[in-house]
Amino acid sequence: MKPKLAVVKMTGCAGCQMEVLRIEDKLLDLTGAVEIAYFYMATSANRHGPYDIVLVEGSVSTPRELRELKELRDGAKLLIALGDCACSGCLPSIVNWVPPEESAKVYERFLEIHSRKESFQRVSPLSAHVRVDLELRGCPPNRDAILEALKGALLGIRPFLREHPVCVECKLKENACLLVCEGRPCMGPVTAAGCGAACPSNGRVCEGCYGPMSDANASSLAEIFARRCGLSQEDIVRKFRKYAGLMPAFSKEAGGKI
């Protein structure tokens, strides 16, 4: 019997499951190898769990999501965090640093927002609540990494996902370093690779959307941002808070633990 695959969404933008659909030419091979039991974006024939392989997109921001996550975990052979929200909290996690009264200034009917109404008040990555077997980083993760993860799941081996910095991919593409040659505040040296240095290859600094690389030296980069790029302390905090401020490797530079 083919293993049952589920793609489930929590708090996030659905861009990561969109990326699962983007494996296009391999999608038929995938449906030959697994039964797609739950994938709301792709099919209307969704079945109840338990599922063998669960890809969870999004972070946890309501008690209902937490209940669902625990249920999925209990039934799953493999639970894979799909994308940054699930791995590190990503953009939604910025709310953790924002006092409720600030949010109330922006949103007219503030208490109708689920995550606020249910007084959960915090956004957290999956690993804060359950055991996660594999993290697919990125906003969204690269389709090759998604495929490698699924192949690994089917073969029962740990997929090879490099956690070295974006700088490696960037250098091998022979880009002139934006940080060294132009003094621009690029997050590449502390950010995990996997995107193929997409932004620096197009002349934009790395925003850090894959979260910390395996051995991120955040304090040294923060010092370089201040000294070499002339960034203010507030700007440095924003840089480190944007995608992965909850991760231990960035938390100090992101303004401390909350």
Partner: protein, 343 residues
């Protein structure tokens, strides 16, 4: 010694003749920097370049390459090597000497690498004497520049308004035969020697290599490594831009539906955490301080004392200065060496 003197404006004609026989790669502008890229005419090249982002080793040890593809039924297929002769135009003395060091590892020795040997054989090298010296260069101290003693097919030296062209091989003789110019005189070789002396006086960086192996072995526990580890970003820019770093990783990748796959080889770097990781997460160089010590030590010291006896006591470093130029954290191995000497 056979040589020719050619007017500078005849270079275009020569390159155009060479392009009938060779695929030509030369230094081209990329943003604020330069890269070795394919060129069709001399106009696309900037021979006054300082250094390139990636060193020429990329032509001989590609950043990533397929070793073979396989099927689960046991069939194995090796990729066809294209047999197009290539020519690298304008390679500096440091990078040329770097290739000679890589030859010692991959061409001779106990285990030659066939793809490397083949690529070296079919690639002509037109070297260039450096008459200007970059801010980060220290080839003179390493004995690898500013002009190469050999290893080239052709050596060009800028004699202001014209080039002295010397042949270093039979292939070089053939290239010289395509050039339009006059036979070089003793006076021309004297002008070359003067240009080299002028270049030598311009170096801002010098390193002292005396008893270098002992110096490093004595300083394995020097607190400087801890300090460097705090600054070090472990971004890999130094290793990936190094003309003599040659470490690689070998991996398999399966295709869906997993009845076939490829085995490939790609550059690896000792300053990255994963480099020295073994099964169950064990790691011989977990701290950045240990990794930066390895990089600097392997480049300047223990070249002769280590397992890389192919280098025959020569340092691995050729003084190209890329690791200094491209380090975001400002780590400079020439300064580290000075500090170890207590200067």
């Amino acid at each position: 010694m056979r040589g020719m003197v050619v007017p500078k404006d005849s270079l275009g004609e020569l390159v155009s003749k060479l392009s009938d026989r060779y695929k030509i790669f030369g230094p081209k502008r990329k943003g604020t920097e330069w890269i070795f890229g394919e060129v069709e005419s001399a106009d696309e090249m900037d021979l006054r370049y300082s250094t390139t982002i990636l060193p020429p080793r990329k032509f001989f040890l590609p950043t990533s390459e397929r070793l073979f593809s396989f099927r689960m039924d046991g069939r194995v297929e090796e990729p066809e090597e294209p047999d197009i002769p290539a020519l690298i135009f304008g390679i500096h003395s440091c990078d040329l000497n770097a290739l000679l060091l890589l030859d010692a590892v991959f061409s001779s020795g106990q285990f030659p690498l066939p793809s490397y040997v083949k690529r070296r054989e079919r690639t002509a090298l037109v070297a260039l004497t450096c008459t200007e010296v970059g801010d980060h260069c220290f080839c003179e101290s390493m004995g690898t520049g500013p002009s190469p003693a050999g290893g080239y097919d052709v050596l060009l030296t800028d004699l202001e308004g014209e080039y002295l062209m010397e042949s270093g091989s039979r292939r070089g003789d053939e290239i010289l035969a395509l050039a339009r110019g006059r036979e070089a005189s003793k006076g021309d070789f004297d002008r070359k020697a003067e240009a080299i002396e002028r270049a030598k006086s311009k170096f801002k960086r010098r390193v002292d290599l005396r008893d270098i192996d002992e110096l490093f072995l004595k300083n394995l526990d020097n607190p400087i490594w801890e300090r460097l580890g705090e600054k070090d970003l472990a971004c890999g820019l130094c290793v990936n831009s190094c003309p003599t770093c040659f470490c690689f990783d070998v991996r398999d990748k399966l295709d869906f539906p997993m009845d076939s796959g490829v085995r490939y080889k790609e550059w690896d770097a000792c300053v990255l955490l994963e480099f020295s990781q073994v099964a169950l997460g064990g790691n011989f160089r977990r701290d950045r301080s240990a990794r930066i010590r390895q990089f600097i030590g392997h480049n300047l010291g223990w070249g002769g004392a280590s397992q890389f006896r192919e280098f025959r006591g020569k340092a691995k470093c050729v003084g190209c200065g890329r690791c200094i130029r491209y380090c975001p954290a400002g780590i400079d191995l020439t300064e580290v060496l000075k500090e170890l000497r207590g200067a």
